[in-house]
Symmetry: D2
Subunit: 364 residues, 4 copies
Amino acid sequence: MSHNSFGHLFRVTTWGESHGPALGAVVDGCPPGIRFRQEDLQVFMDKRKPGQSRFVTQRREDDIVKVLSGVMPQEDGSMITTGTPVSLFIENTDQRSKDYGDIAKRYRPGHADYTYDLKYGIRDYRGGGRSSARETAARVAAGALARLAMPGITIRGALTQIGVHKINRDNWDWAQVEENPFFCPDAAMVPVFEDYLDGIRKGGSSVGAVIEVVAEGVPAGIGAPVYGKLDQDIASALMSINAVKGVEVGNGFQAAEITGEENADEMRIGPDGKPMFLSNHAGGILGGISTGEPIVARFAIKPTSSILTEKRSIDADGNEVDVRTKGRHDPCVGIRAVPVGEAMLACVILDHILRDRGQNGRTR
Amino acid sequence: MSHNSFGHLFRVTTWGESHGPALGAVVDGCPPGIRFRQEDLQVFMDKRKPGQSRFVTQRREDDIVKVLSGVMPQEDGSMITTGTPVSLFIENTDQRSKDYGDIAKRYRPGHADYTYDLKYGIRDYRGGGRSSARETAARVAAGALARLAMPGITIRGALTQIGVHKINRDNWDWAQVEENPFFCPDAAMVPVFEDYLDGIRKGGSSVGAVIEVVAEGVPAGIGAPVYGKLDQDIASALMSINAVKGVEVGNGFQAAEITGEENADEMRIGPDGKPMFLSNHAGGILGGISTGEPIVARFAIKPTSSILTEKRSIDADGNEVDVRTKGRHDPCVGIRAVPVGEAMLACVILDHILRDRGQNGRTR
Amino acid sequence: MSHNSFGHLFRVTTWGESHGPALGAVVDGCPPGIRFRQEDLQVFMDKRKPGQSRFVTQRREDDIVKVLSGVMPQEDGSMITTGTPVSLFIENTDQRSKDYGDIAKRYRPGHADYTYDLKYGIRDYRGGGRSSARETAARVAAGALARLAMPGITIRGALTQIGVHKINRDNWDWAQVEENPFFCPDAAMVPVFEDYLDGIRKGGSSVGAVIEVVAEGVPAGIGAPVYGKLDQDIASALMSINAVKGVEVGNGFQAAEITGEENADEMRIGPDGKPMFLSNHAGGILGGISTGEPIVARFAIKPTSSILTEKRSIDADGNEVDVRTKGRHDPCVGIRAVPVGEAMLACVILDHILRDRGQNGRTR
Amino acid sequence: MSHNSFGHLFRVTTWGESHGPALGAVVDGCPPGIRFRQEDLQVFMDKRKPGQSRFVTQRREDDIVKVLSGVMPQEDGSMITTGTPVSLFIENTDQRSKDYGDIAKRYRPGHADYTYDLKYGIRDYRGGGRSSARETAARVAAGALARLAMPGITIRGALTQIGVHKINRDNWDWAQVEENPFFCPDAAMVPVFEDYLDGIRKGGSSVGAVIEVVAEGVPAGIGAPVYGKLDQDIASALMSINAVKGVEVGNGFQAAEITGEENADEMRIGPDGKPMFLSNHAGGILGGISTGEPIVARFAIKPTSSILTEKRSIDADGNEVDVRTKGRHDPCVGIRAVPVGEAMLACVILDHILRDRGQNGRTR
């Protein structure tokens, strides 16, 4: 059962609310012998951190991740994983004190307020409680650890669409992703995004986005038919991110539109004598098992539900109310979802490498 | 761990290959006290059965499902579930004997031949073995049982797109779905699908499709943050179906294109004094928990990989070969995926009802 | 969740009732590439089979196990596992037709009749239904498969006590175990068991037993702190066998009586230059992880609850009744539990080998 | 998979080492709506706390448990669980700084030093690292929460044997348990234990013990055949406690010695018109399902492995060494295992109540 855990051999359990004292993750099954420094985790935390540009929430959190267990400290300040659970701990430092009387009772449209109340009969309304995107900080910390366990695998993400504005894939340049506040791989699109999002932001509105995550260097043969498919577990992991409404792998929904001839990934023997695919419509996965080609997945994020426009709703007492969500929100929450998507992909891939190694004994 | 199981409290484990003696499912956790007849399962088996029209594979299988355990037979020929595992058993009757020498070694593009060999070092190549869509017969049987355990919930599916041809949603009529071989809810689109697929079929080609599945009557409050989200488990279940490349819930990928104002589902108190949503962009799920509105999900199926056109590939010995897939194939495997999608949705919803009841003790 | 499954990477799900058409196991995660013949499984089935001597139930079952999936048949009649689920199938052939009116309502003391009814509100009373020891046939089949996957590991069991009669451990001779109907390793005790059990049997009574199971050749380093301890999983597996009331590892309960000095297993470097334990009070497990010494576990089986003496009970309608259990029963059900205990130990060890290989990547 | 988690619907994951900064537990699936104060947890922490008498380790830890998530703080200082994960956090305050050079390399007999090194290739040797009994503090915290969720159920434990000295069960008085440092229910035995353990302690030796845990008020019908048996999960939970070598339920190993007539628990209709058992040899469980009688389990703890007597061992470099374990140890670690056993029993029972409620929908 997994209310708050994902993965099997590399198993991540997260805990914590937006406005509690702290949040964190317990990573069970982390392979032993991984040597790293706190900075190796922090670099990914910083990518997700709020307040990095005017296009994301202005909440101020340092998001310093501490490692409380599962490592043996070394004299040079590094640590080595010991195979026991790694407890990752992040303090909440900017729980701005305020009067929550307003949202304690009123159900904000598009938020989980109404459904949490229905399910549990009680809800931590402070900053969204457990349903806040702040929970994703713990995911990024766990994902950073997963990356360290797979040094030969590169996992990257990019934002490919904001609202109706889509990048031109011919302009794709991974180097650009680090150069703009959108994780956008198409330099030409950056000013368009800036203008568009400035308008959204100033209007107190919000907009959706599409993110693409790619894993290169993944060994062929991981994944497992029939209900442990690699693409299935990627879909599950990405759909678990707050505000995600769609997930696709390789050609994705476009695959519905084309013929078998167009969709086929042909193979040849490469110049190095090894099997080689001539295309990657499959997104690196056939029958739920990796082909050795890059794993390619995309996910759609809905517009942030917190907007300044008043919307009709009800409150916990059954009264009709109008709700206008003030506060420090992301005009496009999809931006900060890029490092989160990468982290989830990293965790799924490591879990499947370990699972495959368990069943099939192929050493990697 | 789940290589071949899905669900937690309602847990389905399937087994069997395309050309073995039989296949089946073991359903663990089926609630006790459900009275049914074999025909109550068979009706769903028959929807998925091959050979129903010229647009699906001409393999002939009766797909009679037998119940081998977990039920107490009654004098009137019905059975009552006892809470112990229900073993559902389906014989394979049309494993046409033929020489498999050809495909035993050659990797068919788009199939799982290459990846199974890489993963396991051995593969049952007869009819696709475990990766054959025949495995979905076991899913449909399990899904039928899940439906019986939730009499107040209606689960239906429809095909909304074949290739580039999309239905007009204004014409949606559930009654039409049973009236044509495509499970198409738009009567006007049926002749278009027929013409288009006849061409595809005669050309030995194939094409993709999009299927929508809807669950009505689902109680509000099921699902579980953060990694047991209802939409997450639906995404996982649908992505586990053969040939699925994309999954979305509610607005899905379209949510990326719109603003928070457009995406909001407002609420009022209905004429019956109960909370009421004025729209359902969320597809019935907020924060991973059901709202009480219909659950709406869609999935994209790639074109059948088996086509008559010769494609470049390699064989298990590392030779370059050209492969042309003969045999009895579905020109649009998406059609028969409709009852499979329904079955998966039924299983996920029942599992979450039981999970929620366990944690929260709300009787339904 | 596991109502009817055990294990994680080597995961066994059983189904079936005493008097249904069949019972079986689905083994998920069986390593690929294991070549075997049906006889390699059947030999273990035959050890557990009823009717082998006058000291066990006279029910007649052939207990022929069929392999319905997960294997590729070879020309010489053998099969090779493919890594997909192995469905093991055993028909029930001796469901003697009789009038169950009697036990359908009356709760037999010591049986699960009362508790099943309380839990599920319905119960398959025919021959004990799911709670019958017949379910253990499926365990033995799965255990046989587990053994085949670990050719270097020897797993054996022996009965060491019937009622108050305990073997003399100085007489222990594994070769004797196959030579008598009790799986008794002490030849001198066989006539004592015979006399004693003849008396029990003729009096329509029953008696308990203790079984010891031993695994040799288990690699050091398997098991996992803190809640996946090897001894913990062995305790769980053995306690899951019908009628087991106690489990111990190594010194077991005797460890409570002795001092740290007496209990210590000292180490030296052996003549082969490898670490060597000078004793094995620990039963081959320290901190939940195997030491490389033989794994030694024991379990206590209660006397068969079915006896000819009338006992006070109640029926499903709340009437006080006296119950006398007629039928074909084991005077000492512990005897047939020996191959079952071996099977459970085999499954647990293989599961942990695969889990350890997954997490730690040590090839074996 | 569960290296460091136990339970399914009430799922506890622990983390932390003896000499790290902290340790803790994440409790996932805690039912919402439980109102409690920190003191309600602390009272159980204090029972397990070191340094309470001269018969337990003199390490000084306050063992203050903090609740970091999953609760809504109330104005009166209490908190209410919200259904989200409860993070329980305990700082380590007495990690006495010392030179570990000695034990870093030398394998202490009876400890997990050798096996951790073999498994992981690295080990946190400071105070035993993850294998230290300090981990059980987290279990006690989680168990305290489980108790709060089951107000009608009483869970108590008592020490019944130290070395060869067993209590007289006729003297059993629960009130005595709180009156002596041994959790001993037989007042007459207390001076015997004192004398005996004083000798053990002064000699730098150690000795084993037996603990009995009892749950009263457990509803009939929880547990689940066949691999989710209540007794099976109790055996697993108790065997997971450090140093436990044996577990039994009800009559336990004694059941092997008696006849079916002696072991039967007869039933009648009680004066209140309800079913009533006339004895409880079964320990409250039949067929893996609770009968409504008290659940009774016992477990054997081996003598503390740390003793002053020099013992032969080896070191990590393969040298033969003699090891004498200095430090602050429990002469009878079984004493402090009493509250740990209670905690494990509480967690298992709550988990099964939730599981049963999920599958069967019986509201409690």
